[in-house]
Symmetry: D2
Subunit: 383 residues, 4 copies
């Protein structure tokens, strides 16, 4: 009998939020987070996650899903956002980037899934658009969706192609504001970082600039890195935790096989060429975790701004506001900080997982992390 456990957002997040996040454990981070410390601190952004957990009759295990980010929630249907992307190491897929580069605008959701399901998800975004009954304000149907991936084939039966259009549609239909479930959920269900169980993580930063308050936030689907390279808050955590490595049927010597997709959202107004600058900074947050962006890793970043809703109307002459380049530095710093915290959040939230082919991945042990932070004078909790 087919048994699918699908954790939809509400449930997943209520469970997840009972657990401590990284800063609650005592990991020190710079900067001030927004109220949810999540990508949904950016007004209007909604997130929908569908998690597929199933133990198949043939012994294989399904450990995968879909995480969908709608820049303007329901209004995403008709109102694009300015956006840009950057590939630090392109061993991965993000569809739709040629048009994103060209037009400087992102016309629908950003959807994250596993490597072998990018296609079904991409076409399902189009068919969902068609199902909404009418084209966008310009008379167009979206046709170049942004879908990105990381590879969960260690824990998930990836060649079983278990993501179906209805999963994508549900993630689109049920996307909400509010807290975002982290760890082994959605597209991140089967992911592994630094040889610990990993998945989805998010974080945000407040930026006050010239009398305005803005949010810069990150959501990551993290699946990269070797154990030894792991650094948390500058502490060389990895070399101290050489045991507990994921049992995934290959050697660490094989090098980084994973990937990380980083989505940066902000409500501050930026033009597309500025968002490309911001996207590049995501890699500097990744660098602080100890990564050197290995050959096997698809480290691909996308940034968008929800400001300027009028800027992409269907009119010949448009207007946009933007923060000047001279005032962009706090947004760069916030990007680096939010990225770093989102990755640690993904690791902290994930739980041990039994996967397909007898593979398994252990979670980052919270107690040992705290102990190491203390040993290196970096513990920020109540001692």
């Amino acid at each position: 009998m087919r048994f699918i456990v699908t954790l939809i957002l509400g449930l997943a997040s209520s469970v997840a939020l009972a657990d401590p996040r990284a800063r609650e454990l005592g990991v020190p981070f710079d900067g001030t987070p927004g109220p949810l410390n999540a990508i949904t601190d950016v007004g209007g952004v909604t997130v929908g996650q569908v998690t597929l957990l199933e133990d198949l009759a043939n012994g294989k295990k399904v450990r995968t899903g879909v995480t969908t980010i709608l820049p303007r929630g329901k209004a995403t249907l008709d109102s694009p956002v300015f956006g840009a992307w950057f590939s630090l190491n392109g061993n991965g897929e993000m569809t739709g980037t040629a048009w994103l580069d060209e037009a400087g605008q992102l016309e629908g959701p950003v959807v994250l899934t596993n490597t072998h399901s990018v296609g079904v998800v991409r076409d399902a975004v189009i068919s969902w658009r068609v199902k909404q009954g009418k084209p966008d304000a310009s008379g167009y149907w979206w046709s170049l969706p942004i879908v990105a991936e990381t590879w969960d084939g260690d824990l998930n039966d990836i060649n079983g192609f278990h993501v179906h259009p209805e999963h994508v549609w549900r993630s689109l239909d049920e996307a909400t504001t509010g807290p975002v479930a982290e760890g082994s959920v959605g597209g991140g269900t089967g992911m592994i970082c630094h040889e610990f169980k990993c998945g989805i993580g998010t974080a945000s930063r407040k930026v006050s600039e010239s009398g305005h308050d803005y949010i810069v936030a990150a959501l990551v689907q993290a699946n990269y890195g070797l154990r030894d390279s792991l650094r948390i808050a500058g502490v060389p955590v990895g070399p101290h935790l050489r045991g507990d490595t994921a049992s995934i049927g290959r050697k660490p010597e094989a090098g980084e096989m994973g990937s990380i997709i980083i989505v940066i959202a902000t409500d501050a107004p930026f033009l597309p060429h500025q968002l490309k600058r911001i996207a590049r900074r995501a890699g500097m947050g990744l660098a602080r975790m100890g990564s050197s962006s290995g050959n096997g890793s698809g480290d691909i970043f996308i940034a968008f701004s929800t400001a300027n809703p009028q800027a992409l109307e269907v009119k010949p002459l448009l207007q946009a506001s933007f923060v000047s380049n001279e005032h962009i530095d706090p947004f760069f710093t916030a990007t680096v900080q939010a990225t770093e915290e989102a990755i640690v959040n993904a690791m902290v939230a994930a739980k041990d997982m039994q996967g397909t082919e007898g593979h398994s991945a252990r979670a980052l042990p919270h107690d040992k992390l705290i102990e190491l932070l203390k040993r290196y004078g970096r513990y920020s909790g109540k001692s």
Copy 2:
């Protein structure tokens, strides 16, 4: 009852070759073509095309398909090629480009289809790979396929999603060397250029360089351009042929809505950064047709070299040969020439087509083309 007419390669090409190609009509081109004047003049390259023509019970019409290029034929399974891409105007999709840019290598086929079927085709390339039973020599399954598209929604029921995995698998299994069917076949079935029926076209050029004989070839899936801008062999054909425009339910004033994917293949040895240079020249061939690469057009080009089969073996230290930059000019020129001829071939081969929603597209009238070539002193045929 469902009625699918699928013209596989052998049939399609034998029919097509009975018809004159552009140079046989008297269109003058520079340079010397290879024996087939096709991308299959590059040794080892195979092409598979599956054409879907169906009049559905609901009145809609299927006019679409898949065109697959295997750089090394069956050996493509295990032996990558050096490759690169360039987007002149990115209103289109080509998946797999982040890795192509990063690694400088193309690890499977290049597949062309319609805009709304890129996803199914992409995943089907992966599932075909899995069906072959073993990963490639590096232990990997291909997972970042190159799939590109142009939009056939004027003539094809594009939102019916009629391309299925088995069509992709068939195009892969049945790909062959030899003549390549042109016009309304494969991925080009429902395409329109300069408001004339269009589709797939190909051409090749011989290049002799320092005692070696090489081939540079182009295959295009052409779907771009307004009537007035059409130039053939420098002759302003478009303004003279203002009638006979495609009846497609929208105005020419809407601007260029189409796209062109150009695939450049060569057996000359080039490194990835040199192939990127070659890919850029495809746009110069397109420019000679009168295009200024409109906003709505996805003008995306990919180039690969079948030389250096040993250069991407699974070894730590590899060797490659390459033509020096100082000797690359004839290959640039051949790229421009082959691209231009491939586009004209696509237009010349296509026949009038009735499409969905009552839309239709007329073929370029051969007699009028000949007349215009004569009027402008550019007819190269027997007068």
Copy 3:
């Protein structure tokens, strides 16, 4: 005795304008030019050219100079413009492009000179800025000038380094609106195209879009191309004019050694990422001349918009207007058309020149050009 003939702008242009330009000879071009058919049709743009012609006592000959474009005339000192660049074939230098890419803005003039004088010109732009007595509105001195080059070493004693800071300063101080001298003037003094004498050329196009009238204009410093590849208005002029090649001590077989810098200016409002799109289209105009952008050619293009003078003020939050992507096509077409005409204008304006080392270059013979246009049905003059 040292004898420097320096033709400053006023003189040079009054002489030059007595001569017919390409369209006056009967070359057909598409589109409608602005009043001057020059880059100075874009309001505010000024051009200064200093031409250095000298026969030295040691037998060497100076045939070089400086062409300076100020996007906002004198106001360029304090008011940047949005800008972008593209390299079709980067065998050349354009300084300042890293910041142009990053910031999306051009903060001073664009200066064109010979290959071996880029440095002195670059530093002279900085020293001129310093001489103006105060930094720009942001408190900065310009320090990353845009200086580009083509190689005039066939006719000019390029290793004599004859361009001096005062020449640059004069071109900046004396830049004016009004007609622009073409041919062997300014930075174009010693340049050669398609083995004919060449140099500076310019042209413009009117674009009416949604009730606004705009200008798109090109200025080229043209020095590229082999004779055989020359096409004018689609006519294969080159192969008919195989004699009269430049006597420059090297063989055509050596391939394209020259370069072309293309500057695109518009008063239509565009954002930086859109100007990059426009810059790319300059290469399509070049393609229409028959070029395939040879390895030895530095084919580098820059585009700027003089709209939005307030958009780069020293304020935290800025506003800009921009033409929507859906309405950009006429600007693409105008870019292609203006580029093509500017190149032909450069060739038509240039006169035979005796250069250094006994080298010489003949001008394109007007009578033969007219004859060929007539033979191919492309003559637009009064017959």
Copy 4:
């Protein structure tokens, strides 16, 4: 009276080497350095530095110079190397990059100087080439030199334009193998990092891959960063050292004004597209120092490989070897590590400096650094 103290390489390095470098102070670094822990561990690479220190009669002070890296020492004249570059934040100049991108090769030295002297240095590299008496093996004179800069106008009378051609020529003529002077020398003379005195730094790493021993090395001209962001070996050094800030007439609130040029050299064989990958990793080393690559910073990186000396001979068909992408990770990691250590070396080597306009910069206090390393459990020295 004009008084110029010019420290040439031999002298400067013998002085400098008496001082402890970062790892000798007890800063922990990952990886194994080469014998000199310098860019000159890459066989054949030579470095020449000319330091200009002068107190002018008008009260202004000269604090600038030139640092020159010759990839193949004297053989650089005739033998290019494969190379590539990356701009993390392009508020800076590196000339010659269009051709470096296009050709994948670096044809002469890499020269570092101050922002306002890039031009004179660039032309001086050309004139030095001409002075050598003959063009390179291809018959060409170098004409597109690589010259990069950071801005020393806080301490140096930058608008005095004190770098002259003879300084460049001397740095080229006197470049040697062996130890490399660090800190306030050469192009780094007047530079400041994280509001401490800074300048030139270098480091190297051994990489053993498949039986071969290679070197990856970095040389930086470092001039970036705010105090608070400074991290050394993961320790938040900056916030603990808020005093001692450079007295430079502007507020930290002004944001990062500086820049960093990073030169990566290796003797491992890589193709140009792979060197671009390596160049990108330099930014990950910078990120570990706490930088988020501010708007005002020109963070521009170049990488070259001295392997394959035969690969760029003047022949039609060439051969190159290269490490496979699957084995590139150790080189990425070495790049990150060497960059990080080179920056710390630059800070550790620099001494307090009195500059122009009464400005001054203090050196990083070694004792306080050691104390902080100890406090955070990161001291690697003998306690």
